[in-house]
Subunit: 211 residues, 2 copies
DNA sequence: CCGCTTTTTTACCATTTGGTAAAGTCACGA
DNA sequence: TCGTGACTTTACCAAATGGTAAAAAAGCGG
């Protein structure tokens, strides 16, 4: 019996060139839209227009609005945690931490939309992200907290609350992406902003972590 | 000729008890909704239900969705800038700054919805807030930057970039309100969170500002 | 160039959304 | 207690929104 087999995702295997291209365009447009308006504030029509495709065409590639959003969130988590993962036990503690801060700030500069997508989702109570936080972020966070605690008890950095240290790093670095609209008013010289930020954060955390 | 005089706001003068009460209920419900979903993601029906009023009744007190949002934003700016304004030239610089940090963190704890409303608006590019930023925040920011710069050149605190210092204070304190959903996963002991935050921020900025 | 699959368009649909008109209902001072 | 203005409800509406069905058009291997 021949079933017309409505596919959840078009063609399970070997996505065609067109598919790869269009899915990418859609996700890029959706990143713009979701990161600016949040999940509920974003509309499929907006995404469709930004992607240069018709709305039904978009729904040919994704099963729905939530599917697009979820796909973005899943992708994001991969790259988002990577800088923290790279902070390892075998380096000089201070340099490992400062390196992490530098990478995180770079991500804010180079991927502000991703940062805002994440911020929007958390602001709204992380309804579509709770599993990611629990299974992806939490274990990593705990692991790195232990690593920092070890550095502290070995006397290799100044005593500090590991959890709040990491939170401070997130807060200060992500702020430059998430509150860009505010900073554009307060510190209009955009070029100077980022190098000023890097110098300031480096100085601040260096001082904090040195006894 | 008798004109039925549709009023923009019901009764220009001496708002009745009912008016004060209902406007407050509406604004409170709207604060919940807007701070969680952003401007576009919030709906009048949601606000109406949270306020326990019918939608047309809400539109009797406010001319529209934007009116409600704008009213919230205007109110917010008053209280939001106050902690920074209270940081004055005549105190001990370090204590003035640490006092500001403490007040700002308290606001995050006591008024997280207001913090998130603000964050949402900035995330979305501050479309309804640009004037406030330009005429309200910017002058204050510049003034306090000069104050801090004076403290630095007088050698009363360690050398620091005043603008980025203020931004760091905003980032670290507001983060505890705006990313509450994330912190709830990572640091579940809610009571310890806030005192841990206060201790950590005090230590961090004290170290930064001490030569 | 044919036939089959993949992709896109056209035409819809039900629900939601911001908002209005107008008919009530309530409160309170004369 | 009665009239008048303040407040609330009911009944709508046009546009927007997420989504679907099915026909039409491209691609593409043979």
């Amino acid at each position: 019996m021949k079933v017309t087999a409505r596919m959840d995702q078009p063609s399970r295997k070997s996505p065609s060139r067109i598919q790869r291209q269009n899915r990418k365009r859609i996700l890029d447009a959706a990143l713009d839209t979701f990161s600016q308006h949040g999940y509920r504030g974003a509309t499929l029509d907006q995404i469709a227009e930004a992607a240069g495709l018709s709305k039904p065409n978009i729904l040919y590639y994704f099963t729905g609005k939530e599917d697009i959003h979820l796909t973005l969130l899943n992708r994001l988590m991969l790259t988002w945690l990577e800088p923290l993962e790279r902070m390892e036990a075998d380096g000089e503690p201070l340099e490992e931490l400062l390196g992490y801060i530098r990478r995180k700030l770079q991500m804010s500069r180079d991927f502000p939309r991703e940062s805002r997508l994440f911020a929007n989702e958390i602001l709204q109570g992380a309804p579509r992200m709770a599993p990611h936080l629990e299974t992806g972020l939490k274990p990593l966070f705990d692991r790195k907290c232990r690593l920092i605690a070890d550095w502290v008890s070995a006397g290799r950095i100044a005593p500090v609350d590991p959890g709040h240290l990491i939170v401070s790093i997130w807060a200060t670095t992500q702020h430059y992406a998430d509150f860009e609209a505010q900073l554009a008013v307060l510190m209009p010289e955009r070029a100077a902003l980022w190098q000023g930020a890097e110098a300031h954060l480096e100085a601040m955390f260096r001082k904090l972590l040195t006894r």
